[in-house]
Amino acid sequence: METVLRVVLVYLFLMFALRVMGKREFGEMAPFDFAVLLLIPEMFSQAMSREDFSLTNAFVAVGTLLTLVFATSVLSYRFKRVGEVVAGVPAVLVRHGHLVTRNLDRERVSPDEVLDAMHAAGLHRMDEVRWAILETDGRITIIPWQPSGVTPAEDSPTV
């Protein structure tokens, strides 16, 4: 049935498109991002169902979609490289108090956003940050230097 192929194509296209958009786009959605996200299913629903309103078609479409989601999840878990391709890898935005501008540019994260995340973590100076990491879900994780009075110079990083 053509619905299976249509769902597979839409799934692969969306996986590709959302991956290309980058982590930040859907990590913290602005109103415009939210509107875009709402438009996507609106545009694809007709293409997938072709005005076939039968329950059978809905079962086939949802069965196909969830099977693809499950297969992606299994492959991502079993093969690390697949997981990296599907979900991406975390990007280090701050290393030992220094902004990694190349990663900021690639991920389109401004220093202000890093600062916001630092404030949320209770930090206000860049040299208090050991690492700032843009996670694959778009969140920024701040890892401070050890709070037990250890200064940056004394604490050697582990790799």
Binding site: S54, F59, G63, R95
Partner: protein
């Protein structure tokens, strides 16, 4: 900062490496199999539309009917009927009638040429060796299996074509 700039500074440690095996609960295997069965069966054509062609002869009438045997709720489809006068005389009127019980299982039933009575189409003055086509468009409405008869009749001869259509929900 180290001599090589910010790039030479270490990244945070990665996750420890482990051997990864996919393991599911028993009910998950069953659930995944059920979910995967839908696209597999669909690709094998189980839920797809299917048609049958039936030919029948009675007196000077030769009837060829192509009709849907399987289709899905609210889908439009058509029963195509070719009726041929194989005799040597003109047939005044051929009446094509769709079983009303069978017809009631569908909605939006239209015919070309149009119905002249309840699910009846009349074909006037059919010449020898002439073939006329009747197309009855139907929209699936009621689920499951519906059986009926398409009757093609002249004043003296009648041809009955059994129809059997399954409508998936």
């Amino acid at each position: 900062m180290a001599r090589g700039g910010v790039d030479s500074l270490p990244d945070p440690p990665g996750a420890p490496r482990t051997r990864r095996h996919v393991s599911l609960f028993g009910f998950q295997w069953v659930g995944v199999a059920v979910l995967a069965a839908f696209p597999v069966l669909a690709l094998l054509g189980v839920f797809g539309e299917r048609w049958a062609t039936v030919e029948s002869t009675g007196g000077p009438l030769h009837v060829n009917v192509r009709y849907p045997t399987v289709f899905r709720y609210k889908m439009l489809n058509a029963i195509d009927l070719d009726v041929r006068n194989t005799g040597t005389a003109v047939i005044d009127t051929i009446t094509v009638a769709l079983d009303t019980v069978y017809a009631s299982r569908f909605s939006t039933i239209t015919a070309v040429p149009p119905f002249s009575g309840p699910y009846e189409v009349e074909l006037p003055a059919v010449q020898p060796r002439e073939t006329r086509r009747v197309r009855i468009e139907i929209q699936a409405e009621r689920y499951w299996v519906h059986a009926g008869t398409l009757t093609v009749a002249t004043r003296t001869d009648t041809v009955r074509v059994p129809l059997r259509t399954t409508i998936y929900p």
